[in-house]
Symmetry: C3
Subunit: 357 residues, 3 copies
């Protein structure tokens, strides 16, 4: 079960060269991504309408994409421009095209109803090229359903256990001590909390840390971590700070379902550009080790789930409010899509009856 | 869906040594191939009737094949000749045997009704040992349904695109420019066409090339390529030439389904024996690279097909006449088999009623 | 189909360290094994009731096992002792625990009704630490159903064929010449036979060998091989000997289903401690080669079975009495479990009706 009317981060911008298409599978559908001569991206079904060969094995010719099985040539809009050989009887159907937007270093693809593909629905992020930040990016494939990774990111109490010696260590722990404030928004959840009087690596004094993140439908995680002199939180009555922090770290991550059992995880971590560049090296290694830890536990969870009878229910804990709210939000949006599709079918059925009557 | 009443090229002759059986899976059925003392091959189900161990792990003892699980000994006709240990109560049922013919360097196995196993139905080929030719052979397994490979071989317009830098290059291209003449025969299709005024590697002058091939049920490709001085085709009014060519190349290939999703591809390429032997080296490398290109596109096609809803139809182009005719021919023969099987069942049912009446 | 009310050898004792849990899958169910501070083992479902993470990725804290996803802490009895963070609303359900006994170097787990988990039902074996024996152990995973391995061990006539150059050679062959005496017991079969006048490696004279083994439900093989001066068997009228043998070898093996298609095989071989220790080297290598031979034939058999229509029946030979008796014994015990479960359900239904009436 996937949400369709939303933007999925299908790939990093730098994965898509100017001269060659790439194939990705998003919510079970094969997609080919390519760039026009002017560099703007387009996205089509990765399926030539002739014999269903993957267009991602094709060749870019200016803005056009040639299927390299039998040479059919398609425009960025998916319409067939040329068929080699003798004239064809019926026109070749167009390849389905998908709205695609390049923003914040990701290629965002809309998998649903094109009429609803509003770029304003693209979740905010930072991008790798923002001069304000030093960023480093990576990616990882999970043999697991995407919701398990959403769960993981909507309940960071796991940092104390899964990442005890990596992220838990460098952040000073305490993630499971109390719940963050959780605010449901239209298509996202917002999490906020203070960590008080934490010892941080490379910082001589204790700090108060203001940690916030938003988790956007369908699976985009955008986090900010600001540290302040110890005492700040109490001074401003544990509200959101609006003064310049001692240090400032960010994360942007996308959880993009390949299919029901595989998920691609695109991530980047960064800090303010005024930090010494070599600080990134150690940080990025910690991040990579931490994501390997997540993968071990989540793929293990998937394996156990597969061996679990359907009627077994998970126990609900206070820390599950985040994951549960995210699952509900996605389920609600999927149900609305289904209802809208049903109404459309009903309308078609009505018309059909009228037509015959 | 497989045709049963036909000869499948199960293996190259040289794959089957004198002293040791081999196992192959053909249209989903495990087969053991072995040689009698006089070298003639036989084929049995690769399944000991005792505990279903593979006889292909067995041992040849003269003409006989011993199952090396519990030692049962079988004749080339599949009948059990000996059971170790105390006398058995009921006789051990025979292993099913399959008609097998060794011809043109292939071991042909008939998977259907033995009464219809006519060696005259074996498609013609050249063989690796014919002194008139220098031949080199290879094989390749596809993770794809056999019909996708049949399609590929019945529409060579793909040479210009899939093999642009390999086969397309050395043959001078132009495969997609026009359709070959296509003639349906009883159990095969015949393709013929002239290529006019082509520059060929290692030939100083332009040539006209007469290219013909037959594609035989269930998947045997036998091709001849003759080149003539440019002008020949026009002079003989674009008919089939009957004069000695400048050069003469041949191909024999078999597409043998392992099961619905895997296919074995046996191929050999050759030219007249009066050509310099080292010419083969370069040619065979081109052929191998070209078949790797086919495999990439066809396995990609299979992957896309698997992700495609059943109601999506492929677009039909003029160049699909060959593939479509081949699919129809196989479908027709399968339907006839089913009808014959149905009539046989009806006849049995009638007899049964009579018997009880 | 698996028997549940029986003891499965889930692992070797030495696989389970004092400080770290291990995960095993037994008859399709994920199990975590761990040791208390005093070294005694316990077994729980390998599934945290919170989010189904594998407890085998957890951490031992004294007797307790902490799930390292969100930090829940469980006792050896499966009860939840602590949940990090804010107080929980409802208590976390206990993890299912399994009776486990450590005996003869194996960790035996009871997968069925706890009330019936009688340690007296644990099959007898020797153990790796018995000072009377020099033992060496190993293990092997099969891609095959456990019953095929049971079959193999309940009919040793295969030794002459599968192990012709390994076990068959060092034991002097003759395994398929005659049937062993077979005695059905409550939950096991007993096999006995003499081999008369056999030449044995490293023994200058011919010997009579008294070979006995028991095969216990669900799949435990315990074998003894005693050799005597040639003539002994005839002198004592081919009865069981009660005099000290020239040499004495033992085997203990367990066939533990992972699931319907995978099986773990735990084995140890040994001889009397007064033999030269280096004799083990050669023997163990023979054993390992022999088990690799078994695996090849049995995995081949599984592959052929998968390609065999359901209505094909195996031929029955006299040597199949052992395998058939074992399959029947297991089938009978499974049917009894099903009947008992049915009666319990009926009883519940009755009570239910009464309650409502």
């Amino acid at each position: 079960m996937f949400l369709r009317n939303c933007w999925y981060a299908a790939a990093w911008s730098h994965e898509l060269a100017n001269d060659s298409p790439i194939g990705r599978t998003v919510i079970g559908e094969p997609i080919v991504l390519a760039r026009r001569s002017d560099g703007t991206p387009y996205a089509l079904e990765d399926r030539c309408p002739h014999r269903f060969a993957p267009l991602s094995r094709g060749r870019l010719e200016g803005d056009l994409l040639r299927c390299m099985y039998h040479g059919l040539l398609f425009g960025a809009d998916g319409r067939c421009q040329h068929v080699p050989g003798p004239p064809v009887g019926a026109p070749v159907p167009a390849v389905r095209s998908f709205p695609v937007v390049e923003r914040d270093s990701w290629l965002w693809v809309w998998m649903g109803d094109i009429a609803q593909a509003d770029p304003a629905l693209i979740p905010p992020a930072f991008g790798l090229d923002n001069p304000a930040w030093v960023m480093q990016s990576g990616q990882l494939d999970y043999d697991a359903n995407y919701q398990l990774i959403n769960d993981n990111l909507c309940d960071l109490s796991h940092v104390d256990f899964v990442h005890e010696r990596t992220l838990g260590f460098v952040t000073g722990g305490g993630w499971s001590d109390e719940l963050p404030r959780l605010k449901a928004q239209q298509r996202s959840l917002r999490f906020e909390r203070w960590f008080i009087g934490k010892a941080m690596p490379n910082q001589p004094v204790l700090v108060d840390r203001w940690c916030t993140y938003e988790y956007h439908v369908p699976g985009v995680f955008v986090m900010e971590n600001r540290s302040y002199p110890h005492g700040t939180a109490a001074r401003i009555d544990f509200k959101a700070p609006d003064e310049p922090p001692l240090s400032y770290r960010i994360e942007q991550q996308a959880v993009t379902p390949i299919d029901e059992r595989r998920t691609r995880y695109l991530y980047a971590t960064g800090f303010e550009a005024n930090m010494p560049a070599k600080a990134m090296e150690g940080l990025f290694e910690v991040i990579q080790n931490a994501f390997a830890e997540d993968r071990l536990i989540i793929e293990g969870q998937q394996r156990i789930l597969d061996a679990t009878p359907d009627d077994r229910r998970m126990a609900f804990l206070p820390s599950d409010k985040g994951p549960t709210a995210m699952r509900r939000l996605i389920a609600t949006l999927i149900r609305r899509e289904d209802e809208a599709a049903g109404q459309q079918q009903d309308r078609c059925a009505d018309l059909d009856i009228t037509g015959r009557g």
